[in-house]
Point group: C2
Chain length 347, copies 2
DNA sequence: GGCTACACTGACACCGTTGTCACCCGGTCC
DNA sequence: GGACCGGGTGACAACGGTGTCAGTGTAGCC
């Protein structure tokens, strides 16, 4: 006890050796126990566990990483977003899974033009065990190839093209877009504007495809002038809407590729003195917080983002641990959420 | 060349030994060069640098952490937020600095009741070199004490109380609140409602204090019934507004503690059939994206969040590297942003 | 009873850095 | 000319785990 009185500044974390001594076994056995390896007698395991408890032992991740050549950390690649809530939810989902499995999460916000080299540098610097990739950066073949070449496991969220060589998770954007348009058709709209999303996102074209299918199913002709470009952000939605308003024969309803653009449409309508929803129905996509902050609140499609993200992380960890060796594509259903921004035309 | 043809699956990262051999020096010298230590002859340094370039050497963080007892990573503690854009901007700021200095960023989203124990576990699990703490969790004495006790450097963002024992960074909430109210007084408003923010946030009371000071400076009496509680989220803003509308003598203007609540006020006004800004002026705080998505767009106060966050990270790294040994408190000026949600009463 | 198989355990090298300390060397000081 | 100094460098031992492999004990089998 005497020697303990000095230099006890930092409580000096217990090491695997301390645990081994305390439990009366070798360090290797302690290692086996904390890594849940087989072939440890139940009684031994218990003794070790108790020692771990008593000493409040936490394995040193650096040492683990060095010796075991894995870091127990994964990276999340995402693009600097307009849609804050989207990223936040992705983060939530991925983080939750990481925490549950004792993995650390390293962020990789990517700038506009994230050279694959940049990705590679991230890998060698951090030595993450795997990556979760979000669209649209996660789609780029140079990125995926760089990862594949280095045999770094990864999972894509909402990739544009579903490449069977890799595993991915995403919402059913097609069905969502279709449901939205069907909803408007059911209300009696005949001229429906559609604001496309950022063309780099696969989701943008999938949602449009759903829209077109809905029209086709009802035998409606497609008026190309009603389909206008957008970039998924508020400003582009506003501009696109003004463009549609100027049409000789403007639409009675507008489907925006996401909620932010829909919010832009609403503001554009106010600027143009158009009454909502009487003179114009507006629908978005995502069911982001924005959808409730507009007036009237937005009819939209909810995609289970958090769930999608956790699923992605879950699949990644399975792959890392070697519990799965075949690539899959998981699709999540979306749900139409009807609010007051849509109504029968003229109502 | 012949032996290279086999087993070149993984390119096998270069280690410090490879660099040493290539440069014709000892590994220790390489270590000195990459850590920018003094006492290396310029010529030697150059030779090593070239070898580093040629071999694309990146030091192994795990080995570095193990030997040097620091991880070159810092943690970011934040609370699961309603204000997505706020967190996102904090992240941006902190991340930018981390990247510039070769540090990794580990997230710690904290749940409702983040026991200090939880914080401690995070520290021992990750062994981060320091922490950036955001309000309101970062205020809790049990958290700060736990960090101080373990001698883990930290910097607070927007703490409630400015404790001179620690370093912190934040906006001048007081001045911001004051400017907002002065703006409304200048427009001719005499009855101004104020929706407080989440009481756990220091920013909430500072903004209110600014409001009260503005009133006091003009010799206006304070009507307690006009000051109502809120929680910084949309819903609480909406409810608070409805409460104010029901008053016998309702306000002609409302200052909300932040933009989300202000958006709630606007929706509440629409629900109540109140015309904006003619019958009611509304102001927010933060200049979040929401401020532009409402109609009319919000008068608000812009706080330089990204800058605040980078400053915090910068200060933290200085402290970690031992370049600073005195605690400071940095305050950033806010800027009033006037938009169309405020006007003279009745105008 | 002897042999094999297998469950369990430990000794020890090794992962790729940094910290410590000793050493070399040229210049300065008395 | 010897003692001293300090910049520049390298040898070597950590750091705290995991991988490999050999050893031990017990059960199952002929």
């Amino acid at each position: 006890m005497k020697e303990a009185t000095k230099g006890e500044r930092r409580p000096a974390r217990a090491t695997i050796r301390d645990v081994a001594r305390c439990a009366g076994v070798s360090i290797k056995t302690v290692s086996r126990v904390i890594n849940r390896e087989a072939n440890v007698r139940a009684a031994t395991r218990e003794r070790v566990m108790e020692a771990v408890q008593e000493l409040q032992y936490e394995p040193n991740p650096a040492a683990r990483g060095l010796a075991g050549r894995r870091t127990f950390s994964i990276g999340l690649l995402y693009e600097n977003p307009h849609e804050f809530s989207y990223v936040q939810q992705i983060l939530d989902g991925v983080f939750g899974v990481c925490q549950a499995h004792g993995y650390a999460l390293l962020l990789r916000p990517s700038s506009e033009e994230p050279a694959a080299d940049d990705m590679v540098r991230f890998l060698t610097q951090t030595r993450v065990d795997g990556m979760v990739l979000t669209a649209p950066v996660g789609d780029r073949p140079d990125i995926t190839d760089a990862l594949a070449e280095r045999q770094v496991p990864f999972v894509q969220i909402s990739p544009g093209i579903t490449d069977t060589r890799w595993t991915s998770v995403g919402p059913d954007d097609f069905a969502g877009g279709r449901a939205l348009t069907e909803h408007l058709l059911d209300l009696g709209h005949a001229r429906i504007g559609f604001i496309k999303g950022d063309p780099r996102h696969g989701a943008a074209s999938a949602r449009l495809a759903g829209h077109l299918r809905a029209l086709g199913d009802r035998g409606m002709a497609v008026d190309e002038s009603l389909i206008v470009p957008g970039l998924f952000d508020f400003e582009s939605g506003k501009e696109a809407a003004h463009g549609l308003f100027r049409l000789a024969h403007p639409p009675t309803a507008i489907v925006a590729g996401n909620d932010d653009m829909a919010a832009g449409v609403i503001v554009a309508a106010r600027e143009a003195g158009i009454d909502l929803p009487a003179d114009l129905s507006v629908a978005g996509f995502d069911d982001s917080p924005t959808a409730l902050h507009t007036w009237p609140p937005l009819t939209t499609v909810r995609q289970p983002i958090v769930e999608i993200a956790s699923q992605a992380a879950e699949l990644l960890l399975e792959w890392i641990r070697g519990e799965r060796d075949v690539h899959v594509r998981k699709t999540f259903d979306c749900r139409l959420v009807v609010r007051r921004s849509t109504s029968a035309p003229g109502a």
